[in-house]
Subunit: 195 residues, 2 copies
């Protein structure tokens, strides 16, 4: 009867697909079970609880995003690499809105230690190579880029730009320009700011 037996991976994938299709908040164990043609208690043999399932979607999204970023920035440097990194994030957020939302939740142990998370940080740091920043400033610059890109996409997604002109699309390039400018003009740390 069972065409495919349930596995953690298939459950997480179904949850991610459901998130993309009907919104992250609609990812309930019931809905995922329905989609898999199974009763919800059956999922508990494979997944600890709902929170663990959502964490699984987060890890999946991190992995997928890392892969896209990796391809995007390969063979590029400086502004071109920065733009590719940002656009990879934006494309992912657009194409997989539910998976993207999974990235915007408190990170658990598993997600924090995941290869995807590590890779994204490493790839962001790699983009900095072309810029005149001392190694000691890389952490801060990575956080800066991450904050701006994520912050922008989140506000755009939440409709924060929808009620004002010009459209968010126009600002996107200006924001990347500004990031590029900030990295070129990266300020020297003052007295109390050195770690």
């Amino acid at each position: 009867m069972k065409a495919t037996p349930l596995t953690v991976a298939s459950i997480v994938e179904a949850a991610a697909d459901l998130a993309d299709a009907t919104g992250f908040d609609s990812v309930t164990l019931s809905a995922v079970a329905r989609r898999l043609g199974v009763r919800s208690p059956s999922l508990y043999s494979h997944v600890k609880d709902r929170d663990a399932l959502l964490e699984g979607v987060t890890v999946l999204a991190l992995t997928e995003l890392a892969s896209r970023v990796s391809v995007a920035v390969a063979g590029r440097a400086e502004r071109s690499a920065l733009e590719a990194l940002a656009d990879a994030h934006r494309d992912y957020a657009r194409e997989s809105p539910g998976r993207w939302d999974a990235l915007q939740r408190p990170v658990g142990e598993e997600a924090a230690r995941s290869a995807g998370a590590r890779d994204i940080v490493a790839l962001t740091a790699a983009v900095l190579r072309g810029y005149p920043l001392p190694e000691s400033e890389h952490v801060h610059a990575v956080r800066f880029i991450g904050s701006t890109v994520n912050g922008y996409l989140r506000i755009e997604r939440n409709g924060g730009f929808a009620h004002s002109r010009p459209s968010a699309a126009v600002s996107w390039h200006r924001i990347i320009d500004a990031l590029d400018a900030a990295l070129r003009a990266w300020p020297a740390p003052s007295e109390g700011e050195r770690p």
Copy 2:
């Protein structure tokens, strides 16, 4: 018997307090009703549904944040104003985590049109006065600042910086420095980027 009769304002405030105390997701009509010493169906006379209640908390948070930012940036300019604006956001996020979470949800009509939202945008634009940006670039710069500040605080809050060194506190000042640098070195729009 009724010390204070139920009002929309008292319900929204109770919801906001509950969000700060036990997390935004724990703001259920049941819990709010309990806190008010009332049965949950009674709330429906004042509030359309749970979503409207949460939207109310968002509007409240926007109002409070606008007020704080307003006080913070008064009498300051340039980097000092920028830092005050960012710190006002950060302080609010710390002191009222639940209310702050209310700011991170899809904005409804009411929140988008609220005075608080408008004020925060206006105050952010005011910070730009000291910087050499043409008026036409202000929209983009406001979005840039908003994205970075919100993005940083969100990642910090979600624990995204918790697993790496140095602590998030150190980066915060570097991020403000970087924002300041970006505004000073604001790039001229290229061909296709002019609205």
